[in-house]
């Protein structure tokens, strides 16, 4: 039976993937690079992300049973489809590595100074592998289940931070020139472009009414919460942003002495750890699906074992420390963003413009059966 996920579950996936990499290091990097324009950069990238999502959903409406692979295969041939999927596979490997690095760093900074990478890998990889092995459907349901808690936790975190204080002395948000802002957008595109998974899972998403509205309402909600977090972070740390690498923990820890009870950051810890597990399982699922498409071969064991080996190799031997992967991503991987931000969208826009609706639909359905 084909594993299908509902629109609400897709929306939860979208919302969680929007959260995962942005809660910890990103605000620090953004405000370090572009000072007070960091918020503008974040908003611009959010908008770009939303446009991408809109495009992906539009294509999903047009080709309801096709994922990116089938679409490229249909128009550009099998080899190009495979090359694109190999690149996407790499993209997800990097995203997962980044997620793991941030996770380890977070654990060391906030929870336990002596926390080791090995313990992290031995805990994290099996869980996300098991989640992925149990199938996309149960993984999506788990996300749906955890989503409510994550959002409630996030809201509590924001309330615990200094959100209620005066908004008077924020200062100008737009100081540096546009060139600077654009270059920052270019540098940090890796932390965004979260919705790529939608194209990969497109054929597994159920067709429902009001799909776009549902997904966007979730995504907007999370984006607004994130912007509030960035705003609070910016208000609190401004010039010392580079010292506060764990945005969500620092923001809640700032008020650590509420009622003289000591640390109250346990909520932010729970929220973040849940997010990285759920997000990791989504990426693992994407890796599995990419693998199956690349090798045209369905075996969860092989795909997951290979993904694990690649991840361990990357994580343990190449990016042993966080700065290394951040630098790597900042220097090289941003160019990879071109694929996600330019080539795929262009291809999609062309598809929307060139291929007129409906009369092709029946053909595609026949074609789909052949594939």
């Amino acid at each position: 039976m084909k594993e299908q996920i509902s629109i609400r579950q897709t929306a939860c996936f979208c919302a969680i993937s929007l959260l995962a990499l942005k809660l910890i290091a990103l605000p620090s990097l953004l405000f370090e690079k572009s000072n007070s324009s960091g918020l503008i950069v974040a908003i611009l990238l959010f908008i770009a992300d939303f446009l991408m999502l809109f495009l992906y959903l539009k294509i999903k409406e047009k080709y309801p049973d096709f994922s990116l692979y089938e679409i490229i295969k249909k128009y550009l041939g099998k080899i190009i489809a495979k090359i694109v999927y190999i690149l996407i596979y790499l993209f997800f490997v990097f995203k997962l590595c980044m997620l793991m690095n941030e996770g380890v760093l977070y654990m060391q900074d906030v929870v336990d100074e002596d926390y080791s990478l090995i313990v992290f890998l031995l805990t994290y990889l099996p869980v996300i592998t098991a989640l992925s092995f149990n199938g996309l459907k149960s993984c999506a349901r788990t996300c749906e289940f955890g989503f409510v808690f994550i959002i409630i936790g996030l809201i509590i975190c924001l309330f615990l931070s200094e959100i209620s204080l005066s908004f008077g002395e924020i200062g100008p948000l737009f100081i540096k020139d546009t060139k600077n802002i654009l270059s920052a957008c270019f540098d940090y595109n890796f932390w965004f472009s979260d919705f790529l998974f939608v194209t990969i899972l497109a054929d597994k998403i159920k067709i429902e009414k009001n799909a776009k509205r549902k997904i966007f309402s979730f995504v907007f909600m999370v984006a607004i919460l994130l912007l509030i977090l960035y705003f609070v972070y910016f208000r609190l740390f401004r010039v010392t942003a580079f010292l506060n690498k764990n945005a969500i923990a620092d923001v809640t820890e700032y008020n650590r002495n509420i009622g003289n009870s000591g640390n109250i950051d346990i909520i932010s810890i729970l929220v973040y750890l849940f997010v990285i597990f759920l997000q990791g399982s989504l990426y693992m699922n994407c890796l599995r699906i990419c693998y199956e498409k690349i090798f045209e071969y369905k075996n969860s064991y092989h795909s997951l074992i290979s993904a694990n080996i690649i991840l361990i190799l990357f994580e343990y031997f190449i990016f042993f420390n966080i700065q290394k992967i951040t630098d790597f991503v900042l220097f090289y991987f941003k160019y990879f963003g071109a694929l996600i931000w330019i080539i795929i969208p262009l291809f999609y826009i062309l598809l929307i413009i060139i291929c007129k609706e409906k009369k092709y639909d029946k053909k595609y359905k026949k074609l789909y059966k052949k594939i």
């Binding site: 929870v111 869980v127 989640l131 788990t142 000591g262 640390n263 810890i269």
Partner: protein, 473 residues
């Protein structure tokens, strides 16, 4: 009679087989039955005395139609003789005829329906099922006087021939579900079915799983409510527990009391129960991980308190927690098994002597005892899941001690996912939250007033979703 000797021989000449012979109108009438399982008064009043008074022609048909004052009479042929005797029927033979009459004067010692000890109510019906399936049928019939109620009997178990009864409403329950259950029941191939729990393993797709996706209850009002939502109930002779299918874990957070009190209070108390699950499973593990690894997360004042009470302990935190956990689990087991009059003694020995003196002697620490006791107590907010929660608590304690907080979160995610993979009878276990079914939220963690619950749960495939139409569209 030759045939009676044969039957006796087939039944190994057991001492409780009785043969009674009467001569009526010069014809010998023989009866064979198990003397331990029949109502002797009834036998005398409705069979023996009419026979003795009878003066007419003796044939099986005549006796059946004119003489015997028994409700259930059936003419059986040779191949069913032995089967009927061991099913506690009286077989009546007439000299010169090959067939026999099978008479039902069965009698077992049974208890009266009483309030079940597992689910007492404060303001609500106090009836409970008994071990006799006949009582179960009677109680459900009493609650559901409708023509749509279907009752099906099956006999399972090569040696026990246990009666399994299935109940459902034919205008509500999903046909596919019924077929699936029937198929599974018919497939059961075993010597004995002694209790409802026996057939759960046969009905389940994943008998090895840690969690079970079957509702178990002793109360007719719960079973009726569930049947009315389109579920199927299965009763097993010899067990007061009735199984309901399909089942979601949310049902264990519900209690029959909930429907007999204010809906706001119900919503509140269900949140407490949900909190109870978390407390029961992860709290000891989290406490252990805090003590071993994550001092940073604990406020300084708690560190001071914990240090003050644990500094002179001879054990490491892990051993201490394991020790207390096993001790408490043992006490629990003892209190279950000990005769009731000894219960007080165990509670004194357990709680006072072991706990208090242990702390005083500096062998165990009071925070450790508080944490484990808290976890054990909160487990009984959902008594149906107690065995699973006990295992989970142990697992999380081990994970917390070895992998720390991150491991515990990982474990939680894994087990939520595990529950999500359980999909027995096409019903997601964590519905209506994952997948979210908006309609069913009316009676999940929060409950709407009963007058506002106008639709049946959508997660159970119903033929009719609206309540109040009697199932007629």
């Amino acid at each position: 009679m030759e045939i009676i000797d044969k039957i006796k021989k087939q039944l190994n000449n057991n001492p409780d087989i009785l043969v009674r012979e009467i001569i009526v109108s010069n014809k010998k009438i023989s009866m064979i039955f198990l003397k331990s399982t029949i109502d002797k008064m009834l036998l005398v009043q409705s069979i023996i005395s009419p026979l003795i008074d009878y003066k007419g022609e003796v044939t099986l048909d005549n006796l059946k139609n004119e003489v015997l004052k028994v409700i259930e009479i059936e003419k059986v042929t040779k191949k069913d003789f032995v089967k009927n005797v061991i099913r506690n029927k009286v077989l009546l033979f007439v000299e010169g005829e090959n067939d026999a009459l099978c008479l039902d004067v069965e009698y077992f010692p049974t208890r009266q329906p009483a309030e079940p000890p597992t689910s007492p109510t404060i303001q609500g019906p106090r009836e409970g099922f008994t071990e006799s399936v006949k009582t179960t049928i009677a109680l459900i019939r009493k609650q559901l006087p409708t023509k749509h109620l279907i009752i099906k009997n099956y006999f399972v178990g090569e040696l026990t021939h246990t009666q399994i009864t299935m109940f459902y409403l034919d205008n509500l329950a999903d046909k596919k579900l019924i077929k699936k259950i029937e198929k599974k029941i018919k497939k059961i191939n075993t010597d004995a079915i002694l209790d409802s729990h026996y057939i759960i393993n046969y009905l389940s797709d994943r008998p090895n799983s840690l969690f079970e996706q079957f509702g178990l209850t002793e109360k007719p009002d719960i079973v009726t409510a569930k049947i009315l939502e389109g579920r199927v109930a299965i009763a097993v002779d010899g067990s007061p527990i009735v199984i309901t299918i399909p089942f979601m874990i949310m049902e264990d957070l519900q209690n029959s009391n909930d429907y007999y009190t204010n809906s706001h209070y119900t919503s509140f108390i269900r949140f407490i129960r949900a909190l109870g699950i978390i407390m029961a499973t992860v709290v000891p593990g989290v406490y252990l991980s805090f003590r071993l690894y994550h001092y940073k997360v604990v406020p300084l004042k708690y560190i001071l308190t914990i240090n003050a009470t644990t500094q002179n302990l001879p054990f490491t935190p892990f051993i201490e927690m394991l020790f207390i956990l096993i001790l408490f689990q043992m006490l629990y087991e003892v209190s279950l098994r000990l005769p009731r009059y000894l219960g007080l003694a165990t509670s004194i020995v357990g709680a006072l002597v072991l706990g208090d003196t242990g702390v005083q002697a500096g062998l165990i620490s009071s925070p450790g005892i508080i944490v484990i006791a808290l976890s054990l107590i909160s487990m009984y907010t959902i008594p149906n899941q107690a065995p699973q929660l006990s295992i989970l608590r142990f697992i999380f304690l081990m994970i917390g001690g070895t992998l720390g907080l991150f491991g515990i979160i990982g474990g939680m995610v894994y087990f939520i996912n595990y529950l999500n993979t359980m999909n027995e009878f096409d019903t997601p276990n964590l519905a209506p939250y994952s997948p979210r079914i908006k309609n069913d939220l009316q009676d999940a963690l929060t409950r709407q007033p009963i007058s506002k619950m106008k639709t049946r749960p959508k997660v159970i495939k119903n033929k009719d979703e609206k309540r109040g139409l009697g199932g007629e569209k």
